[in-house]
């Protein structure tokens, strides 16, 4: 099977350099070859009864962190906001 590395890279927001394409493709082929050996099982997917996953209420958490604490790791900050490249013309 042909794997369109450039297309997958685009979906994953990764850039694979041209000289790396072949290497990536053959490694991916090998991995896909391994996973293609999986059997066809006629069954339905079900949730794990031991882990019912009770979700917490969808309420905003307030006062847990200061704005400054949350932004201390941001690569670029200006006037208390995250700086990103222009997204609208």
């Amino acid at each position: 099977m042909n794997i369109d590395i450039k297309h997958i890279a685009k979906l994953a927001r990764l850039r694979i350099e041209d000289d790396q394409l072949d290497k990536f493709e053959s490694e991916m082929q090998n991995i896909v070859g391994m996973v293609e050996k999986l059997p066809d099982i006629q069954d339905e997917m079900t949730l794990d009864p031991d882990n019912p996953m009770i979700l917490r209420k969808d309420v905003a958490v307030q006062d847990k962190f200061t704005r400054q604490e949350l932004m201390q790791n941001a690569p670029q900050v200006k006037a208390g906001c995250l700086v990103v490249p222009k997204t609208v013309e």
């Binding site: 997958i8 927001r13 850039r15 391994m34 099982i41 690569p75």
Partner: protein, 483 residues
């Protein structure tokens, strides 16, 4: 005997009885780190100043007669994907090279009176089996520093073996606690999925990840497990239940224990010495009153493929958050938003992480979802059913932890599939959400440790720990490497 050579359970008593102070113990561990870290490279970040401060605080509290936890004042190393407030947490990635968490993982809050020595090396984002995928440096196996310590919690296992920490925390998605524990001759426990909170563990594959302890003896591992286990409202997959005090309830008794030996784990590809060593260990347990039975887990052959599909799919989604906007690395030069994302991610992630994101993106992409992801989830269900039906007849399943002893640094880096084969005995446990422990059971002709894996039904950690403890008592404890 130096303080750093002792076990946490003894040191805990010594601190409580005021025979030693936490400050003396912490200094002993940092002296040890200074002596051997150059050979082992277990740590990415050391935090001596805060560790000494914390030790002094604990000593003061004890002097005042305050009631503290059994691990109070014990120097513990933490894998670098567990968030530690104010202490750099990199996941061994360039992407998080300068990241300092503004909050603690739940396990860190639960262990609030330990002394944190520092943050331990790992494969980048826990993806790997040798710690060679760390962006910063490879860690070396203390039994032979030309060899890998295993991975992804390679720093956590090597630090325990080299006595650069008394106990450590690791995380296990496909074997990442048990496999390095096996290679480094220490004890490592992967708890039942849902028993230890994942809040603050940087996610790799959320449905498989679990934090767990590594130590030089079974009791130390039991002590840490008792401290970290329990429901957490910040983790929706966390189970509601009561847990025993694993260390206090430890019993070296295997009378009547039914041990299953799955033939699929002793087949081709497993080193004959490893097979023999595990079987010898099982025979020792049999002499103590356990019964042994051959069993079959026929879908084992499909576990590795199923694991790589599920874990990579989840990874591709979890790692989408690293976009150079809110935290972490951002590429210096770019032209527009999409270019910034692509350059940031391409420069910030290493090859193995990119490979898994690509594989995950592929298996989830339009037209391939049913053929790969859905198929893998159905195999997962079947593997769970096979284990559940075997646990009606046996209490514990014994297997090798890894197919061979530790390989040389650089030996498998060019072949991802060969590297993935390291996880063949451990991934099934994550796929099925079960607990498992790895304990040393032999040393090969080069002196390298062999690990035995004991797998149990969900939430049977106490039985696994008791079985491991019984074996440890029989052999009189595990060897420390000479460094």
């Amino acid at each position: 005997m130096e303080l750093f050579e002792r076990n946490a359970c003894d040191l805990s008593e010594m601190i409580k009885n005021k025979e030693i102070s936490s400050a003396e113990l912490t200094k002993s561990v940092f002296d040890r780190i200074k002596a051997v870290e150059g050979k082992v490279d277990a740590y990415l970040t050391l935090d001596e100043e805060n560790a000494m401060k914390k030790a002094a605080e604990i000593d003061e509290k004890l002097a005042k007669g305050e009631e503290l936890s059994p691990l109070a004042g014990i120097p513990v190393g933490i894998k670098d994907n567990i968030s530690t407030k104010g202490l750099r947490t990199t996941c061994a990635s360039k992407m998080l090279g300068n990241y300092v968490p503004p909050f603690n993982a739940t396990v860190m809050n639960k262990l609030d009176d330990i002394v944190v020595t520092g943050k331990l090396n790992m494969d980048e984002f826990a993806m790997g089996s040798s710690t060679e995928n760390s962006h910063f440096k490879p860690t070396k196996n203390p039994f032979d520093t030309e060899r890998i310590p295993g991975g992804s919690s390679g720093g956590s296992a090597a630090a325990v073996a080299a006595r650069e920490a008394i106990v450590t925390l690791g995380s296990d998605t496909g074997g990442s606690i048990r496999q390095p524990a096996s290679y480094c001759g220490v004890v490592g426990l992967k708890p039942t999925y849902g028993s230890v909170s994942r809040y603050g563990l940087v996610a790799f594959a959320s449905s498989l990840d679990q934090i767990g302890p590594l130590g030089m003896c079974v009791k130390d591992v039991a002590m840490v497990q008792s401290a970290i286990v329990g429901h957490d409202k910040y983790d929706a997959t966390s189970s509601y239940r009561e847990y025993p005090d694993f260390a206090a309830d430890l019993k070296a008794d295997v009378k009547g224990l039914r041990i299953g030996i799955p033939k699929e784990y002793f087949g081709e590809g497993i080193d004959p010495f490893v097979k023999q060593s595990v079987m010898n260990a099982v025979k020792e347990l049999e002499k103590q009153g356990a019964t042994v039975k051959e069993i079959s887990l026929p879908s084992t052959d499909y576990a590795l493929s199923s694991y790589y599909i599920i874990s990579s799919a989840e990874a591709s989604s979890n790692l989408a958050r690293f976009d150079g906007v809110r935290y972490g690395f951002r590429a210096e030069e770019y032209d527009g938003l999409v270019d910034m994302y692509e350059r940031t991610r391409s420069e910030g992630f290493g090859d193995e992480v990119k490979r898994r994101i690509m594989l995950g993106t592929f298996v989830l992409s339009s037209g391939f979802y049913d053929a790969y992801y859905k198929k893998a989830k159905l195999v997962q269900k079947r593997i769970m059913q096979e284990f559940a039906s075997q646990f009606a007849d046996v209490d514990v399943i014994a297997t090798p932890t890894v197919p061979s002893t530790a390989f040389k640094i650089g030996e498998n880096t060019d072949d991802p599939l060969k590297m993935y084969a390291n996880d063949v005995c451990t991934v099934t446990v994550n796929i099925a959400g079960l607990p498992a422990i790895s304990i040393p059971c032999a040393y090969d002709d080069k002196g390298l440790p062999v690990g035995m894996q004991l797998i149990g039904g969900k939430f049977t950690e106490q039985r696994l720990l008791n079985t491991a403890y019984a074996y440890e008592q029989l052999v009189g404890g595990f060897k420390m490497p000479e460094l």
